[in-house]
Symmetry: C2
Subunit: 245 residues, 2 copies
């Protein structure tokens, strides 16, 4: 199985870097706060970050007291930025697909993965490896695109009124799992659609206990400031899951 | 809080009875097989059925070896049928809202509820009571309408092509939870929309461990026989959850 390394595509990388540089984006407003809200006390802990990208989370884990952080990413370009902007004696960056993490011959207190799992075909295989690499009672927290986002849509994703406002999501084939090709800066970004129950059952079958799920939604306060995020009331962008070994 | 007793409405009751009498319906093809696939061995067990309706499940539990079954339903009309068609020395039918089950001063090995929870406003309260009424390691299994069904839709639920075929679901305000009025035989059937993560978190907070979730989908074989159920590939009708105390 060939692992997808879309982030080393020049056009994708530049497009992605641009939205990450903008401080008002869905990651900063919804995904990151939800992710960190589920994080246990990191003091003296070891952390493995799957799909660490630019390493911002790795750096933050060290600042929060983690004694050792391993950041894994398939993209060399991402890790170049990580090493420039977020290096630390306590962080090791490894350039490999997360499907190969069992090469790492050690265990961690906490494994996290931020917005990478919807690119992974063998979800079951990866979470089995995560289970093996966690210490007893270790915590695994991940975020991914919400299953309502990884669905097909009937042509256009949204139906709009005459003023261009989004009236409803066009949701097609939620029940058909597997590969989806989508366009995000470049054509043929491959994502893998899994329904809610498949995600939950895979985690349970791997041996995990589900502790919490979050589908981040905008508050009224936030909507006053950024009315465009009203669309998240139709369809949350993210799903976050916290489980324990 | 007034509990909803829509099943005692004459028109609703007759309409409902008619579709239940038809053997080819979504309950028989999808919900009931999924529900019973999650059922533990009932031999010598005590079972509480919340929203037991006509009592078909209660009867089946006894036939499967349960030593005692209590069926609770808010609707007198439903229980009249239950007593006529599905009575047994081992079954007790109780006419009360499931919000009041704590009046029952005993514990059960298994609690089940089939397609009733989307009518319940105080989901958290009911599952807290279920937790209290279960024996240690007891199992709680329930089905409800899938959260993709209890959503609002943008006017029509479906967008169709020129031949009337369903192209996609019109999904609106998945992220806005609470009361929905829908029309099912009669106006103003009240349902309560909860998103996936809310359901999961409420169960965990009540003390349960999630064991399995099912969103039943049609097999290719079934679709050949009943092509109309193709729409379930866009949107499963049901969500089933198995948890343990």
């Amino acid at each position: 199985m060939a692992q997808q390394n879309i982030y080393d595509n020049e056009i994708f990388f530049e497009g992605y870097k641009k939205i990450r540089d903008n401080e008002v984006n869905a990651n900063n407003l919804f995904e990151i706060p939800a992710l960190f809200s589920m994080m246990p006390d990191l003091t003296g802990k070891t952390v493995l970050d799957l799909g660490c990208g630019f390493g911002e989370h790795c750096k933050r884990f060290v600042e929060s007291g983690a004694k050792k952080v391993v950041g894994v990413d398939i993209s060399e370009k991402m890790l170049e930025v990580a090493k420039l902007e977020n290096s630390d004696d306590k962080i090791i960056y490894l350039n490999m697909p997360m499907e190969d993490i069992s090469h790492l011959q050690e265990k961690f207190d906490i494994v996290i993965s931020s917005l990478a799992f919807h690119y992974v075909e063998d979800f079951e295989g990866v979470i089995r490896n995560v289970y093996e690499m966690l210490e007893e009672k270790g915590v695994f927290i991940f975020s991914q695109e919400n299953p309502l986002c990884t669905c097909h849509s009937g042509g256009n994703r949204w139906t709009r009124d005459e003023n261009g406002n989004k009236i409803h999501l066009n949701l097609a084939y939620y029940g058909v799992e597997g590969e989806r090709e989508s366009v995000w800066f470049v054509d043929n970004v491959k994502k893998y659609h899994r329904i809610f129950s498949t995600i939950v059952n895979a985690l349970i079958e791997a041996g995990f206990t589900i502790e919490k799920m979050i589908e981040p939604l905008p508050t009224e306060e936030l909507l006053e400031k950024y009315p465009d995020y009203n669309e998240l009331l139709h369809k949350p962008d993210f799903l976050l899951v916290k489980v324990r070994k």
